[in-house]
Symmetry: C2
Subunit: 288 residues, 2 copies
């Protein structure tokens, strides 16, 4: 059992639309959408060994701002709930949390403090976006270009011991400003790649009822190697944004990004003529 | 060290106003305030032994809706992040969460699923309230009446083994509809009593720079006894709302409540001529 299957099990309880995106949405009624996202991280599973409390606080906020970014919203406020095994860890953790929030234009506006056997953090962020540009996983159209920001794979490489990439793993930068520009330009779908590029492409493909054909010669890699390509496709922990857009939209977009494929009719993610496995980061209990 | 002291330690980081209430606030700019609150609960500390997963899910949402209620807001959406030791617990937990949310007019709109050694839940809720009636802990004025809804103390009594009150402990009803009526009538301050009546009165007194004199003959008790009075004053886990209001406001208020005292100039909570200890529920690490 993994978390994607578990989520599917409650579709009947909370609804199909409510489980389809990383952010919830609430129509504020004046052409604005309120988006919100929440993420749980805890020490043994989510924080690489040797991480400082500042870095844990930064990462906890960054993962949630990345979800907000993928809708095109400007993040407004962040709430931070922390379960602490020892109280001394709180201040440096919150320094990291506040620093990340402020770097990306948000404010830590509240939270909760609990005692816990293991340092556990849940950050919730919300932001506001114009309904006319609000992005979701659904909306990709056959013919659109498939694009990604940044160089996915470096966080995985850092996990594998490539210390030169540790900053991408430990104090990742959510693509908050890029997300707003992508949405304003008119992208047809968007999500972040934090669970891995391929599995995220499947999420877009599923939500949009399309297929995707990747062009392996155009991947932004941290080095020219099969290893870097594997990290790009299946590594987790990076904070790039995947999005789909027409050529017309791309001509209006003034950020750095790479075109890595095209949206097609179908239901698979294909590279070099082969259907890629639906594989990426997942929380697993027992046998998946 | 307890969580109130720990919270005070980060006032310089996130600001005085941001640590002063159970809810954060965000001005939506059209006479509306968005309020949000987040709460962490986990099995060993927060869920009484023998609780079902349904009850855990219900309680997790109820604590957060109670914070929203204390502002006078109508809760809109709830996000639920769950750390699970075993995946089978998820569905009944979410049934409880969804059931509580829907009972009080909110919708579970998203969340996060994680694996964890101990069942850990963080619920975040937001709601919208007219700026003109939005309630906080601050605002109580000398001369106001001090009021409470419900019969605080029953949750504590249930914890002590009074099984006839277990429903108040395990599936508490946040006073969501009462909170909206209290705010609309024009209460000067409000908060919930979930950490205990006396410590919550101190929170109102501190935030409002006032004192409070209680009338021990008017407490709504579950039985006439010193034990019930102690549960009323210091027990945690109940979901009544404390509020302060002028007689004029009370004359407009058509809900059940008890007047338990008056706001005065000063800085203490006083009963029978004695200053009450600042005592209630707190998370504690080591020596408090």
């Amino acid at each position: 059992m993994d978390d994607r299957k578990l989520l599917a099990s409650i579709r009947t309880l909370i609804g199909e639309a409510e489980t389809a995106d990383d952010c919830s949405m609430f129509d504020l009624g004046d052409g604005k959408i309120l988006v919100a996202s929440t993420d749980m991280l805890h020490e043994t599973t989510d924080f690489p060994k040797g991480m400082t409390e500042f870095e844990m606080g930064w990462m906890s906020v960054a993962v949630t701002l990345s979800d907000i970014a993928s809708t095109g919203a400007a993040p407004s406020q962040v709430l931070v709930a922390v379960g602490l095994d020892s109280p001394e860890r709180f201040y440096p953790f919150m320094e990291g949390a506040v620093s990340c929030a402020e770097t990306f234009g948000a404010k830590v506006a509240g939270g909760d403090i609990d005692s816990h056997k293991e340092l556990t953090a849940v950050t919730t962020a919300f932001g506001i976006v114009d309904k006319s540009v609000y992005c979701r996983r659904s909306g990709a159209l056959a013919g659109d270009f498939v694009c990604v920001t940044g160089i996915p794979g470096r966080a995985q490489a850092a996990l594998d011991g490539h210390d030169e990439f540790r900053q991408f793993l430990l104090t990742p930068n959510p693509q908050v400003f890029e997300g707003q520009k992508i949405a304003q330009a008119g992208a047809s779908s968007m999500m972040d790649v934090s669970d891995g590029v391929v599995i995220s492409l499947y999420d877009i493909a599923d939500a949009s009822s399309v297929g995707i054909i990747l062009d392996g010669t155009s991947f932004p890699l941290f080095e020219e190697s099969g290893y870097a390509k594997t990290c790009f496709l299946y590594g987790g922990g990076d904070f790039g944004l995947l999005f789909t857009a027409s050529g017309d939209v791309l001509s209006r977009l003034d950020i750095d990004y790479s075109v890595i494929g095209r949206v097609v009719e179908g239901d698979s993610v294909i590279l070099d003529g082969k259907i890629l496995p639906r594989k990426g980061y997942a929380h697993v209990w027992g046998d998946a």
